[in-house]
């Protein structure tokens, strides 16, 4: 029987009170954003936010709980944006969204600095169902600018080693979600939009280096479409336990990939839209799981991670909270229906 694990890719919206408090404490400009050495007052607000976000996920009935990544002012670029050897420059567009982050420019050796591990340590006493979230190395390298390594291939390797070091310092977690939207939007080998000179094999080796650094289930999650066929094939060869398929953006493309090339015993299905306030029903979530299982010739998956497709900070807080509940209810409903079937 398939286990449905209701979870999210994290990067939750700040509660509205914290939006106001942090704007007051930190300011609105580029140089006011998180630098990794926040003072006591700001740290205290983030501690409260973390607690509230964990509580929301538990109350909604999610099976895996993320720390929430409330400090990630620069979204997936955060782990580099707070690094000592990185300079943050102008505001640049975050993928094709009306969102912006500070361009992190790497100026020196990228040693792990424990920033993300410290967040997870802080969340550890709040839950046992811990799920870590990191940008995948390909996406993080794609979002950053290299002024130190001088070569895309070497830079990607350095980013992967940095993330592996970070992951290696994590407290015990059940799952690690590696978010790799750039593997979908600027696939390796495609053109100068991505990392020129890095092919899908090299990209998946970088992912593998991070996946191998933790003793947890690792999910490589792509969204805003699905992985290219070659990328998908190489990712299946990594140590990751599961790949993520964005059924919200391209359900047919996702089904085709698995029909043609198969997938692991575990997988993640993105069933809820992280960028639209339109609320799915629990029934819709369950139907989408059922549809995918019918479409794909696998005798039975061991685990399906049921998730929204994107990070969640795009949503206003009311819809964010409602979507968590829908996801949890939908996952339970899908399990019940499988038992009946």
């Amino acid at each position: 029987m398939t286990e449905l694990v209701a979870t999210t890719p994290g990067l939750c919206p700040l509660p509205d009170w914290a939006k106001a408090d942090l704007a007051d404490l930190k300011g609105h400009q580029k140089h006011d954003l998180v630098s990794g050495d926040e003072g006591e007052e700001i740290t205290a607000v983030y501690d409260d936010v973390r607690e509230e976000l964990v509580d929301l996920q538990q109350s909604a009935g999610l099976d895996r709980v993320v720390e929430g990544q409330a400090r990630w002012d620069d979204m997936l670029a955060h782990p580099l944006a707070v690094h000592d050897e990185v300079e943050t420059r102008g505001i640049v567009r975050y993928y094709d969204n009306n969102n912006f982050y500070r361009n992190p420019v790497v100026k020196g050796e990228l040693d792990a600095d424990g920033d993300v591990a410290a967040e997870l340590e802080a969340a550890a006493p709040l839950t046992d169902d811990r799920q870590a979230v990191l940008p995948g190395p390909y996406s993080l390298a794609d979002l950053a600018t290299d002024e130190h390594y001088g070569d895309d291939d070497e830079f990607l390797g350095a980013v992967a080693d940095f993330l592996a070091g970070e992951a290696g310092a994590f407290p015990d977690v059940e799952t690690l979600f590696l978010l790799e939207p750039s593997l979908v939007t600027s696939p390796p080998d495609a053109d100068a939009d991505g990392l020129p000179g890095v092919g899908p094999e090299r990209a998946s080796e970088a992912v593998d280096a991070v996946a191998g650094a933790v003793d947890a289930d690792v999910v490589i999650h792509g969204y805003w479409g699905v992985f290219e066929e070659r990328t998908h094939a190489f990712l299946l060869d990594t140590d990751a336990d599961a790949l993520g398929y964005d059924l919200v953006s391209d359900h047919e493309g996702a089904a085709y990939l698995v029909q043609e090339y198969g997938t692991n015993d575990d997988l993640a299905l993105a069933l809820v839209d992280g960028q639209n306030t339109k609320l799915e029903s629990a029934e819709t979530v369950a139907e989408r799981v059922e549809w995918f299982q019918e479409q794909t010739p696998v005798s039975g998956y061991e685990t399906i991670h049921a998730t929204p497709n994107t990070e969640l900070f795009y949503l206003p807080t009311n819809r964010f909270e409602e979507k968590l509940s829908v996801l949890a209810e939908g996952a339970r409903l899908a399990e019940t229906q499988e038992v009946k079937a």
Partner: protein, 370 residues
């Protein structure tokens, strides 16, 4: 030509470079205070992401008082634009809190759920389209009537374009952004019809979302056909675009039913100017000649050089001079001095053109009368 109607009677030079602004302008501090007084409720919450202390001690600031405050601010800023010497003025969008929110509040079918992040701790009350969109009240006609009643110069009306209204909303109803944008375009068209009836002769469609995604020019082109339908020929329609990759929209924009394309180019030091050199630019070009996000005021000489960059693309007869974008994020004194220098520089360049002292690379070949 739609531009000659904006030449002031006492214009000092033969050449005429139409000077204007994109639209938004810093609000007077007392106006922000008035908004807070009006919006604060008993718990100290306001509609923006701020909380005020001791709300019970605040005076009651009712709807009438708030309307009066907005009218006052609009009159002051309109006059401030005239004092700077602009040929076509705006009221600084004193009634508008944000370029999408303002319209979404006035369109049936929209609802608001709360603020979402744009970047850092900057948020936007991104609305959701939850039902078919419909126009059941005026958006800008009253604003235009108020501004034109105090203005002695022609008034330009900026209006957020349907593509940006669609792209910067959560779309819960329509099949895709194109379908929503086209529906909204019909509403914009209705509004423009009423503005024209009220006397407006210069309308600027603001589409900052254009040039951010590849291929979105096709949607904007289609939407503009709806917007411009039945608009009289003597009404000048501009399109403002900013902070995008312009190679994604050129030369396709030449097919759009607009008179003028208004571009942010100063911010990037005119790096993208060559995009517009080939094929020939057949619209009027409203060139950004001062940066809207740098608090340092450009000198008259510097702005003159920026204006002359425009002649690489169009001759003076097709050049409008404007800031890169809305000036609302600048300190008010800085915004004013930028406008003042912009006008001085434009008049200097005109005089030099009259005297034949400036070479115009984009000048049309004319047959000599000799």
């Amino acid at each position: 030509m739609t531009r000659e109607q904006f030449r002031p009677e006492d214009h000092p030079n033969d050449h005429f470079l139409l000077t204007t602004v994109v639209g938004s302008y810093p609000k007077p501090k007392w106006h922000d205070r008035a908004r807070e007084l009006h919006e604060v409720d008993d718990t100290g919450e306001t509609s923006t992401v701020t909380t005020v202390r001791n709300p019970q001690d605040w005076p009651d600031f009712d709807e009438d008082a708030w309307e009066e405050a907005k009218d006052d601010a609009a009159r002051i800023i309109t006059k401030e634009h005239e004092r700077a010497g602009l040929d076509a003025v705006v009221d600084g969008e004193m009634r508008r809190n944000e370029m999408v929110e303002y319209f979404a509040h006035r369109i049936d079918g929209y609802e608001f759920n709360g603020p979402v992040k744009v970047w850092g701790h900057n948020y936007f009350d991104k609305p959701s389209v939850v039902d078919e969109v419909a126009r059941t009240e005026q958006w800008l006609v009253e604003e235009y009537e108020c501004t034109s009643s105090v203005a002695s110069r022609p008034v330009k009306v900026p209006i957020t374009g349907p593509y940006t209204l669609a792209r910067w909303s959560f779309n819960e109803v329509y099949e895709d952004t194109r379908e929503l944008a086209v529906e909204l375009a019909d509403l914009v068209n209705e509004e423009i019809e009423q503005l024209v009836e009220a006397g407006a002769r210069y309308v600027q469609i603001d589409e900052p979302a254009l040039a951010q995604k590849p291929d979105d020019h096709a949607i904007v082109g289609e939407a503009l056909e709806h917007i411009a339908a039945d608009v009289p020929d003597d009404v000048r329609i501009g399109l403002h675009v900013c902070y995008g990759d312009y190679s994604r929209i050129y030369p396709e924009v030449l097919e759009f039913p607009i008179d003028e394309l208004d571009l942010e180019l100063c911010n990037g030091d005119y790096e993208q100017l060559d995009v517009f050199e080939d094929p020939e630019f057949t619209k009027d070009l409203a060139l950004g000649v001062v940066d809207a996000h740098v608090a340092e005021v450009e000198s008259v000489e510097e702005i003159e050089e920026n204006i002359k960059r425009g002649f690489e693309v169009v001759p003076p007869e097709q050049l409008t001079v404007s800031p890169d974008c809305g000036l609302k994020l600048l300190p008010r004194t800085v915004a004013y001095r930028k406008m003042e220098n912009l006008v001085t520089a434009a008049r200097e360049v005109e005089a030099k053109l009259d005297a034949g002292e400036i070479e115009v690379p984009a000048a049309k070949e004319t047959v000599s009368a000799d």
